[in-house]
C-alpha cells in the first residue's frame, strides 16, 4: 500500500459532484490502482474459456478477436432471452437516482460511473442504441450509443469496479440489481477474453485442485495439520480431523481462504476445534474434503456456466463420500451461490438420493429451511448448538474483545443471515456494539474487495470501496471503544484487515468461529494462557 496517499488526503479528494460534460463524452481513463491485471492466458485456457491471450489494459490494442462486436451482440441477444432479470433491468430504470449514492465505490471514489444507475447505463446505452427501434433511429437523442472499442474498455473498467454486493438493489423501487447487470456484463467480456487474473487463475485452481490457491491435497492436509499443532500448544487438545472419509455424517466445506491467510486461519482453527469438541462429546463425524476444498465459487464472477462447473463438486463429493448433508463455512459469495443458485444448478443432477434433510443429531433440530439443498450454514448450526446448551463456553476468554458486527453482503442480501451470527457472537463475547443503522443488516457495506476484486494491484480502489464500512467502524471505535470487527466472509477477512489498518488502525478483524473456539472449554484441556492468535488471555495475570 506504499503508493496510496494518506487516508485524509484520499478522503479530501472525494468529490461527489460530477463533471460538466455529458457522461457519454467523458472518455474512459484506466487508472493504475483501480484495476486488476489481465488474466494469465494459461488459466483461461485451462478451463476452456474463449480467446485466451496476453493483453494489457493500459495498451491501446487489447488484441480483441476480429469479430468481437458480433460475439458481444450475439451474447447480449442470447442473455436477454435467458434472463428476465437482465431484460427487465435494461428496460425499466427511470433514473430516479435512489441508488446513486448507495454504492461504496461511488461514496469512496466520487467517480460518477460508479453510481449503480450509470454503471448499468454503460450497458443499457448500447442495448438501446443497437437493440431498440427508437435507439437505432434516434441514436444519442434516445440515450443510445454504438458499441465501440472505447465503450468496451469502459465496460471492462467499471464492471470490474463493482463488487456485486447488491446494496443498490435494496433501495431501487423496482429492485433493479446492478449485480445482475455486472454479472451479465462480465459474461460478455469473458466471451471476448477480457478476464482479470484474480478471477481467472482462482477459477483454474479451483477446477484443478479444488481450492483457489491451487493447494494440492498433501499440502492442504499439511496446513490443517499445522493448525492442529498450534491448537495442541494452546489447549493441550489435538484435533484429529478426517479427510475424504467415506461414511462420515457431514461433509464440511469452507472457503479455502481460511486455510492459508490470517486472520481466516484462526477461524479455520475454530472449525477444527468445534468439530473435535463435537466428536469427543457427542460422537459427531465431520469430514473435510481435499477435492471439494473450496466453498468460494470464483466461477460466479466469470459466467453462470463456470459457476455451475465449480459448484457441482460439492454434491459430487457428498455423493462419493455418502454423507447425510453438507455443512458450509463462513463465506460471502459462496453462500449466495449455495442459497440462490446451487439447487437450481446442480440439485437434481448431482445431489444423491441418500442425502437427508439436514438435522442436527446432537439437538434433534431439523433445518427445514435447507430441506432441498441439504446444506446448512455453520452459523445456523452453531447457534442451534448454543441455544440447546450443548457447548461449554467461557465468555471471559474474549473479555479483551469489544466486538462489532459486519454483515457480509452476500449472506445479508442474498440469504438473510443476520441474527444467527449475532446470537453466536453475543454468546461468546462480553462486549458487543452495533454499528449505526443504515450501515448494517441489509444495508451493510461491502468490504471493497468482493466479486474477485481482492487483488494487490487495485489497492486504491479497495481502500476507496472499504471507506464506508471502515467509517462506520471508526464511529463505534471512537464512541464505544470497539476494537474488533467480526464477519462471516473469507473475502472480508482478507480485505478488511488492510482497510482497517488504513482507516481505523486500532481495530482488528476476526471470523465468528475464532471467537467460538476461544470461548469453547474442552473437558480435560490445559489451562489456556493465550487465545488462538497467541495473545495473552485477558485477566489471566489476576487469577
Amino acid at each position: 500500500m506504499s503508493d496510496l496517499p494518506r487516508p485524509e488526503a484520499l478522503f479530501a479528494n472525494i468529490n461527489h459532484t460530477p463533471p460538466k460534460a455529458d457522461w457519454m463524452d467523458v472518455p474512459v481513463d484506466i487508472k493504475p490502482g483501480r484495476y486488476c491485471y489481465a488474466a494469465n492466458p494459461d488459466s483461461v485456457n485451462y478451463v476452456g474459456l474463449p480467446h485466451a491471450r496476453k493483453w494489457n489494459p493500459l495498451d491501446d490494442d487489447w488484441k480483441l478477436p476480429e469479430n468481437w462486436q458480433e460475439i458481444i451482440f450475439k451474447g447480449l441477444h442470447e442473455r436477454l432471452q435467458k434472463y428476465r432479470s437482465f431484460k427487465i433491468f435494461m428496460d425499466i430504470c427511470v433514473r430516479c437516482g435512489a441508488c446513486a449514492d448507495k454504492c461504496h465505490f461511488f461514496i469512496g471514489s466520487g467517480d460518477p460511473k460508479n453510481m449503480p444507475v450509470l454503471r448499468a447505463e454503460l450497458l443499457r446505452s448500447v442495448y438501446r442504441g443497437e437493440f431498440t427501434t427508437f435507439g437505432k433511429i434516434l441514436g444519442r437523442f434516445a440515450g443510445g450509443r454504438k458499441l465501440t472499442p472505447e465503450v468496451l474498455k469502459e465496460w471492462w473498467y467499471y464492471f470490474f469496479q463493482c463488487s456485486e454486493c447488491r446494496r443498490c438493489s435494496v433501495f431501487c423501487p423496482y429492485g433493479i440489481d446492478t449485480a445482475e447487470v455486472t454479472i451479465i456484463g462480465r459474461e460478455l467480456l469473458n466471451l471476448v477474453g477480457l478476464n482479470i487474473d484474480w478471477i481467472a487463475t482462482p477459477v483454474a485452481n479451483c477446477y484443478r485442485t479444488g481450492n483457489h490457491l491451487g493447494i494440492q491435497p498433501h499440502a492442504f492436509f499439511d496446513m490443517l495439520d499445522f493448525f492442529c499443532d498450534d491448537i495442541e500448544d494452546i489447549t493441550g487438545i489435538r484435533p484429529e480431523p478426517s479427510f475424504n472419509k467415506k461414511g462420515a455424517d457431514i461433509l464440511f466445506i469452507t472457503p479455502s481462504g481460511d486455510v492459508f491467510a490470517d486472520p481466516g486461519t484462526y477461524t479455520c482453527m475454530g472449525y477444527l476445534m468445534l468439530f473435535e469438541y463435537l466428536k469427543r462429546e457427542y460422537g459427531l463425524d465431520v469430514t473435510w474434503s481435499t477435492y471439494a476444498s473450496e466453498g468460494g465459487n470464483f466461477g460466479f464472477f466469470t459466467s453462470h456456466e463456470t459457476m455451475k462447473r465449480l459448484n457441482s463438486k460439492m454434491y459430487m463429493e457428498a455423493d462419493r463420500l455418502g454423507v447425510k448433508w453438507i455443512l458450509g463455512g463462513e463465506c460471502g459469495h459462496m453462500w449466495r451461490v449455495v442459497h440462490q443458485y446451487m439447487d437450481t444448478l446442480n440439485g437434481p443432477e448431482f445431489q444423491n438420493s441418500r442425502m437427508e434433510v439436514p438435522s442436527n443429531p446432537i439437538t434433534g433440530t431439523v433445518f427445514k429451511n435447507a430441506a432441498s439443498t441439504k446444506m446448512v450454514h455453520i452459523a445456523e448450526f452453531t447457534a442451534d448448538l448454543i441455544k440447546h446448551g450443548k457447548l461449554n463456553l467461557n465468555k471471559k476468554r474474549n473479555a479483551n474483545i469489544h466486538l462489532t458486527w459486519h454483515d457480509s453482503c452476500n449472506p445479508a442480501r442474498g440469504m438473510g443471515l443476520l441474527d444467527e451470527p449475532r446470537f453466536v457472537a453475543k454468546s461468546v463475547v462480553e462486549k458487543f456494539t452495533e454499528m449505526p443503522e443504515g450501515t448494517i443488516r441489509e444495508q451493510t457495506f461491502c468490504c471493497g474487495g468482493g466479486a474477485g476484486l481482492n487483488a494487490g494491484e487495485n489497492d486504491e480502489l479497495r481502500m476507496m470501496g472499504g471507506l464506508p464500512r471502515a467509517n462506520a467502524v471508526k464511529y463505534v471505535h471512537e464512541k464505544y471503544g470497539v476494537n474488533m470487527l467480526g464477519c462471516v466472509c473469507a473475502i472480508d477477512r482478507a480485505v478488511l484487515p488492510n482497510s482497517m489498518q488504513y482507516w481505523v488502525p486500532e481495530v482488528d478483524v476476526c471470523g465468528l468461529h475464532e471467537l467460538v473456539a476461544n470461548a469453547l472449554v474442552f473437558p480435560g484441556e490445559k489451562e489456556r494462557e493465550t487465545d488462538l492468535r497467541g495473545e495473552d488471555l485477558p485477566g489471566l495475570e489476576d487469577e
Partner: protein
C-alpha cells in the same frame, strides 16, 4: 440542454394540435382518430412488452433479501422482507407497488471534515413519487365520469372527496395541486441535483414535460378557458361506444389536452414508463426467498459443460495423497513407487 429539447418537443406537440384542430379544422382527426389510435398503441404495445418480458426465462431464484431469513424456530423471520411463503411474497409486492417500500428506505450520504461520512433518511423522493402516482391515479379515475353513463358511485365519490375543500367555482381539485407540485418537484430535482442531472436523459425530461403539459392544459380548460363539458362528454361517450361524433364548438384547448394525452399513451409502451408493468415482473422482488427449501427449476439447460470429476483429480494427485495417508479410491499401481 436535454430538458430544453424536451420542453420544445412538448411545445411543438401542443402547437401541432393548436394548428391542426384549430386553424385547419381537423377536429375529427384530433378528437377521434388520433385518440383511438393512441389507445390501441398503448394497449397492444403494453401487452407486447409484458409478453416479451414474460418470454425471457427466470433461470435462478435471485430475490434481494432485506431482512432475517427463515431459519431456526426461535429466530424471528422477517416474513415480508425475506418471505418464504407465497403470502409473504404477495405482501412484499403489495408494499412495493402500493407504498413504494424500497424507496421509503432511501438515505442520503454526506461527507464531513476529516474522514467522516453520515447517512440520513431522505424521504422526499418517496413522498414526491407517492404524491405523483396517487394523484395521477385519482385524476385518471375522475376522468372516467366522461366515459360512463350513468357515472358509477365510486367515481362520483372520488370526485367529491377530491373537491372536499370547495374552493372557487368550479371547485378546486386537491389532486390537481398535488399533481402539479409533484411533477414540478420531480423535474426541479432532476435539474438541481448535480448527480441526477448527470444521469438524466431526454427521455427522462420528456414525459415530465408532457405530463405537466397535460396537467396545465386540463387545468386551464377547467378553470380559465372553459370548454363545453356537455360536448366533451358526448365525444368521449361516442369514442367508447364506437358511435363517433364530433360536437361543434368544444374549444381548441380540449384538442391540445387530448392530443398530449394521446402522445403520452402512444409513447408509454416504448419508454421507461413501462416500469408500471415491469415492477410486477422484477425477479429480485417477486420471488420466494426460501431457495434452499424449495428447488427453483431453470427452464433452459447449460450446454457443453465439462466437470472435473473426482476420478480425474485422484489420478493427478494419487501419489501425493497416499503419501499423506489420505484415502484413495484406487490403490497406487504396482511398481509405481
Amino acid at each position: 440542454m436535454k430538458a430544453l429539447y424536451s420542453l420544445f418537443l412538448v411545445f411543438a406537440l401542443a402547437a401541432l394540435a393548436l394548428v391542426g384542430a384549430g386553424a385547419l379544422g381537423m377536429e375529427k382527426a384530433f378528437g377521434l382518430y388520433i385518440p383511438f389510435l393512441a389507445v390501441a398503441v398503448f394497449v397492444v404495445g403494453f401487452c407486447m412488452r409484458v409478453v416479451d418480458w414474460g418470454k425471457s426465462a427466470v433461470p435462478f431464484c435471485i430475490p434481494t433479501t432485506c431482512g432475517q431469513q427463515e431459519s431456526l424456530p426461535w429466530i424471528k423471520q422477517s416474513t415480508i422482507e425475506n418471505p418464504s411463503t407465497t403470502g409473504g411474497v404477495v405482501m412484499r409486492m403489495l408494499l412495493e407497488v402500493l407504498l413504494f417500500r424500497s424507496l421509503f428506505r432511501n438515505t442520503k450520504v454526506d461527507l464531513h471534515e476529516g474522514t467522516k461520512i453520515t447517512y440520513s433518511s431522505s424521504k422526499w423522493l418517496w413522498l414526491g413519487a407517492l404524491a405523483f402516482h396517487y394523484s395521477f391515479l385519482t385524476i385518471v379515475l375522475r376522468h372516467m365520469r366522461f366515459f360512463t353513463e350513468p357515472v358509477p358511485g365510486i367515481i362520483a365519490g372520488i370526485e367529491a372527496m377530491d373537491s372536499m375543500l370547495q374552493i372557487g367555482a368550479p371547485t378546486l381539485y386537491l389532486t390537481d395541486i398535488a399533481f402539479v407540485a409533484a411533477v414540478t418537484y420531480l423535474f426541479v430535482r432532476r435539474v438541481v441535483v448535480p448527480q441526477i442531472r448527470y444521469i438524466s436523459l431526454v427521455q427522462d425530461y420528456f414525459p415530465l414535460f408532457l405530463i405537466l403539459g397535460i396537467a396545465f392544459s386540463g387545468i386551464f380548460m377547467r378553470y380559465f378557458a372553459k370548454v363545453d363539458i356537455i360536448s366533451v362528454k358526448q365525444l368521449a361517450m361516442g369514442l367508447v361506444t364506437f358511435s363517433w361524433v364530433v360536437p361543434e364548438g368544444i374549444g381548441v384547448m380540449f384538442y391540445i389536452h387530448m392530443f398530449l394525452v394521446s402522445v403520452l399513451l402512444a409513447y408509454f409502451p416504448l419508454s421507461k414508463l413501462m416500469h408500471m408493468g415491469g415492477v410486477f415482473l422484477s425477479p429480485t422482488r417477486n420471488m420466494n426467498c426460501a431457495s434452499r427449501k424449495f428447488r427453483h427449476i431453470n427452464p433452459w439447460k447449460f450446454e457443453n459443460v465439462h466437470y472435473h470429476t473426482y476420478e480425474e483429480y485422484e489420478d493427478e494427485f494419487r501419489e501425493k495423497m497416499v503419501e499423506k495417508d489420505l484415502p484413495v479410491d484406487k490403490p497406487l499401481a504396482e511398481g509405481a513407487e
